[in-house]
Amino acid sequence: MDIWKPQRIDALKIYQARIGPLVLWLRQTDGEMHVAQTYELEGQFMDMHGLKEYVQEVPLHTPWSRWVVEKEMHQVRLTPCLPNRPVVVRTESPVKISVGKEAVFYVSFPIWLKIEAGDGQLIELCDVPSAVRSNTWFGDTMEGELCYSLMTRARRQIEDADHPVYKALCPVRIRNASEDRLDVERFCLHVEHLSLYQGTHLLWTNEVMITFQGEDQISKVDYARQKPKLGSDLKLITPPRTPFKETLLKRSLASIIRFSDS
């Protein structure tokens, strides 16, 4: 996809890229790279395009951030990457997994963009989310972790999964290794351990396998080392932010917790 290839930019000109709800602005002046991002409302954004010269007037109050770079930088590359925090996703409706059985869910989440600039060798400036983030807490009020909350739901059928170009699709296999029935309503996905693959049109991550070992036990989480089987013509474009250990034991499943009366 051309969006992810390095693109040439000229000094003093303003460039714009649209990736999902994200509108990204770039300009280079006096040895500085200026980056700004604004977001369109969900469902109201236009088609995606890579960096293009923007000849109209930039909206007032555009929140520019400035990066000191070399005098002349002619290349900018936007690379898709994964969010910097875990994401919490709910299933469309509660799913019950019997003892010893497993179920596959498809989770799609907005990617982030790593912005690199340079002349020959590119240096990383920052990474920005492609959609407005919403914070949530996974755990109880005394301990847990800060995550992003996903608006879209985990689907059981891949055809039902929301998979626009600015989102990555992650297959999650949940196995019930406990001695009780498992009710899956929401789970936490540590996307920082995932790799991102580019298919012909879409972005994929490697598969996650969560083994539920009981209500009082922490779940065993494995990240597949190979590409997902479903995508076609996949190639690795971004390695994990945090490389994962052989097996991670994490609290990844939670039934609905009532916080309102605590």
């Binding site: 949530t136 807490w137 009020t141 005394m142 301990e143 917790i257």
Partner: protein, 291 residues
Amino acid sequence: MMILAQIEWSKLFELKVAIRVAMLIGLGFPGVVFASSLAARSAKRKLSAQGAMLLRKGIFYVGTTIIILQVLHQLNFQLGALLGAAGIVGIALGFASQTSVSNIISGLFLISEHPFEVGDQIRVGDTTGIVLSIDLLSVKLRTFDNQLVRMPNENLIKTQVNNLTHFPIRRLDINVSVAYKEDVNLVKGILLDIAKDHPHILDEPEPLVLFQDFGDSALQFLFAVWSVKEDFLILKKTVRELIKARFDAAGIEIPFPHRSLYAGTDTAPFPIRIVSETPGAAASVSPTSLT
């Protein structure tokens, strides 16, 4: 005085002893200071600020004690006599400095009980601040208007201490009042929309809007939202402004306390007088009524 009397000061004039004492003092003390700060710095990643401070102080006190004992040993001082004297001195000092001893013991309890640690935000009575250090005699706080407050450990053991940042998330409770004429569901919807749109409010635990009571002048709601403790202040600063703006935009009235007087349907209207404001004119009176 007993210690000083037992030291063979003449030993100091022997070259070998003098060199050893000088080396112990000259190299030992800077060495202890260096070792304690190095240990605290290298343990900073693994330990909390409180743990690092305790490690630094522990190494410093143990090291200093060893150096002093070594210096006394070089001067032919009998440590047995010192320990014997320490018991008597301890009793005398205990009576003389009950407050200090009480503070020291309270300090040890504070460190072992761990109700707060360095960097936590605590409230004691009317004072709220960030814990700078937990020392042997006192806890030092920095208040938000940048004052240093010293609190004796004894007081902290006796009084209620609220640790505002012990848990990772906090709930902000806001009491919201609207006029009786307003639609309850509309008010609830607007408040939940604010929670949904606000970047520092967490989706989970879910925001709560509770219709609490029929007040004297208003319908009273509790709006409770959660944020991570780092975002709590900015949430506190912004969310009330947002409620006012959204209520204004939706035409929802936030009433001030008022009273309506009426005399019932069967009574005669209240008589009132309207006084003309025309300058220079005599006050004219026109009888009318108020129901």
